[in-house]
Amino acid sequence: MPAREHILHKIRTAVGRSSGQPPAEIPPVRLRFEALDISERVRRLAERFSGQVVHGDAREQVARLVSGKRAVACPHPLLERLGILTLPEVETLGGSVGQIRAACAAADIGITSAEYGLCDTGALVVLAGREESRLASLLPVVHVTVLPADRILTGLDELFTVLPDPGAVSASMVLIGGPSRTADIEQILTLGVHGPRELHLVLV
Amino acid sequence: MGLAMAEVLERLGYTIDFPEAQTCCGQPAFNSGFRGEARLVARQFLKAFRDAEYIVCPSGSCTAMVRHHYAELFHKDPEALEAARQVSARVFEFSEFLVNKAGREDVGARYDGVVTYHDSCHSLRDLKLRDEPRKLLRAVQGLELREMDIAEECCGFGGTFSVKFADVSGAMVGTKIESIVRTGAGAVVSTDASCLMQIRGALSRAGLPIQALHLAEVLAAR
């Protein structure tokens, strides 16, 4: 018997079900969140974000961050609209996967947008896509995210309410709760072990 | 300890009976995996206490055994199961009885000194008694209750565990008495005789002058 059938058969015997039998009634989904106005969402996200929150003109602020460094940016309409892609230090990612990987590996700063922010934990929700690279928020030591304030949600509960099936829109959704960290040696905390050490959030 | 408990209860107006037919709740055998033997002994317990109005027990672990495990032991015997249910509803740990059933916190006790309290695992986690013993202690005249930093950590007795894994058990009680010493208390109080035996044994071996008292002994003090 092929492994799949064998395993399923053992499961059904173990729990007393038959093939094709519909499942028993499932505990209802539990999603609970407060209704917060946008200024409160912005305030909480800024307070809980594990990095620097940048205010003011987006292009100017990003220019300050990338000055003298090598930066890569995702070809996202938002970043384009804000004029970030035209900054001299910024290379817009594109081409083959290999080229994108190499560019991210060589950069000091990765600039991406985010799909949502979660204000209860200060986390960012990044979806991979045609205009969003996975590696841009991962390989460079500094990660800069541009997020529209009206995309801030209260938390996971609201996220799964607005996006019940992340897989429908992207093969990769990442919740970024802070910089890369480890305490694997003697429980001493170090940042930037594999991913970025420093995070910046530009709210627009 | 048993006499101390009886004294306190009588002071509050209860009539105490000690059915001589009682021996043990069966926990040692049950915990060691000998359910058949535990069942035999548990039946004796049910017989001995069949007619009791309340059963008050100076041990959190025995109370938990009757309340939570008798149903498992007798699940195949409907008659015994029913008897077990009835008895379970009437069995109380001492501090539980005083605070939750008799509604008393001040039992007219006096004890001058600093004590610290050790939560026995069964009292704390099985019977959910955290506040009751502390309320009773705080109401004792002259007594200062100082919490140790690891009151809730197991003393390491665990029945035959203390013999089968004696070194681990010893390490556990070692940490416990270090914590007791750090409070500066002259005595440690608990609701479980087995914990007290373990802790007392370690204090004695370490040559420390700290007393290990059962809650009933403190509450009986005048």
Binding site: P2, R4, K10, R32, Q187 | F161, F165
Partner: protein, 472 residues
């Protein structure tokens, strides 16, 4: 078998440095958890635990349905599900895949399941270098050791030991500063991430309705493992599946806080399939390897089935007074701590280490902290009963069994009970001065090795009680 168990325990107890490191490391994690689930931080904590327990219960009771749904969704989204009955099938699938695709180097993110099936060793036989990328796992891989703790694999290593390892195995200059050690590892592993042809990960959760693999981490090595190489293989036990993406709202709130007190870890990846057409980067091939390896047998046992609810947070390890002293290496099998004590006997059989279920004082702290409310003490008690039943069946009568038979006989006859008490009074070596006994013969010698034994009371309770009643 049991001799080895006790020896390993002794070895751990006698290592003073280890004792300090272990106790403080677990203590720190325990405290972090406590503040993470405190009433001010997570007022719904108890309710979330109940919900998590119910979701797991429902899922396992209908596991066939959810695994089939998972497989369907994964395949709809361009991935492939591989069903494996045992370690061998996992090894050969991944090994053959690597060989077929010309993979010589694979990077791995933390997966206790891959540890369980000895994947790295097997891959070596296929000519594949499998590099662990989680810092703690990387360190113990260099040392040739097993993970010490579910969440902190190198908990037992000092910075000096790490410096020794890096010097010897990586050919770098000696470095004892922890941040610099971390950067050395980063540089070495960065190269591997970028060169590897395959990334092998575990999965904290498998989402049936999305066909997704969810990975929770802090370092970013799992993200790199699953984003950089061309092929991503996720290995997970069949019990990892949960029905809906929305259920993550419950589980993610519990997992980080129970493990390290974090409201959310640095990264939570939700991966459904290989890179979609047009997506900038990501793997081209995506496999979910489902492993049975004895889980269906546990599933069949209604009372102990809840063992499979475990989300591998490590909270039970951090609170267990026994684990905190004997450490991860004292336990047989892959998993240690209270969850290991119930999982290993069910997977490897009770005979593998019959004393394991008894290495607990049944304090119940584990059950209190388990985010999915597994009643670990209850299962330990059942396993103990099964061990004794097996011994009885095999007619392996020993002193303990005979002791309890005698004990039960005495306990059923109150008069005998009293006589036994009087006999003890007469026989126990006490000066009658109330002094505690320093040494006892036979099996109780173990007690008196560490503590004094109480002297028998001058008068038995029954005697005193009767006297009291007589005097009114």
């Amino acid at each position: 078998m049991s001799v080895a168990f006790h020896e390993r325990i002794q070895y751990a107890l006698l290592d003073e440095r280890l004792q300090k490191a272990l106790y403080s490391a677990t203590g720190r994690l325990r405290d972090k958890r406590l503040s993470g689930v405190g009433a001010d931080q997570l007022p719904d904590y108890q309710e979330l635990r109940t919900q998590a327990h119910r979701i797991k219960q429902h899922t396992l009771e209908n596991l066939d349905h959810y695994l089939e749904l998972l497989a369907q969704r994964v395949e709809e989204r361009g991935g492939r599900v591989v069903w494996c009955r045992d370690a061998g099938e996992v090894q050969s699938f991944i090994g053959d895949l690597a060989r077929d695709r010309g993979v010589r180097l694979a990077v791995k993110s933390k997966s206790m399941t891959s540890e369980e099936v000895n994947l790295n060793e097997a891959l070596e036989r296929y000519g594949v270098e499998a590099v662990e990328t989680d810092l703690g796992e990387f360190i113990i891989q260099l040392a040739g050791e097993r993970p010490y703790h579910i969440v902190a694999p190198a908990m037992h290593k000092t910075r000096q030991q790490v410096a020794d390892l890096f010097e010897a195995k990586l050919g770098v200059g000696r470095e004892e500063e922890i941040p610099r050690q971390t950067m050395i590892a980063r540089a070495v592993l960065r190269k591997k991430f970028l060169e590897a042809g395959m990334g092998i990960s575990g999965a904290n959760f498998l989402i049936a309705d999305s066909g997704a693999v969810v990975i929770v981490e802090n370092e970013g090595n799992a993200r790199l493992t699953t984003s950089s190489p061309r092929i991503h293989v996720a290995v997970a036990g069949i019990e990892k599946v949960i029905p809906r993406a929305a259920d993550l709202a419950v589980f993610l709130q519990l997992l980080g806080r129970s493990a390290t007190g974090q409201t959310l870890t640095s990264y939570t990846s939700f991966l459904s399939g290989p890179r979609r057409p047009g997506e900038m980067d990501g793997p081209e091939e995506f496999y979910v390897v489902l492993l049975d390896n004895g889980r269906t047998r546990i599933l069949a046992d209604r009372d102990k089935r809840q063992t499979l609810y475990c989300i591998r947070c490590g909270a039970c390890l951090n609170i267990c007074p026994v684990y905190r002293r004997i450490g991860g290496y004292s336990y047989p099998g892959t998993y240690s701590g209270p969850i290991g004590a119930i999982l290993t006997p069910q997977v490897l059989g009770l005979g593998h280490e019959p004393e394991l279920p008894f290495a607990s004082s049944l304090c119940g702290a584990c059950a209190e902290v388990c985010p999915v409310k597994i009643d670990i003490p209850k299962i330990l008690l059942e396993l103990r009963s099964e061990v004794k039943k097996t011994e009885a069946r095999e007619r392996r009568w020993n002193a303990e069994k005979l002791g309890y038979l005698l004990w039960a006989w005495v306990m059923r006859h109150p008069r005998l009970f009293e006589l036994a008490g009087m006999a003890a009074q007469a026989l126990l070596p006490s000066g009658g001065d109330g002094r505690w006994i320093r040494s006892l013969p036979g099996p109780l010698r173990a007690w008196t090795a560490a503590r004094d034994f109480p002297p028998p009371p001058a008068e038995s309770f029954r005697r005193m009680w009767r006297a009291r009643q007589r005097s009114g």
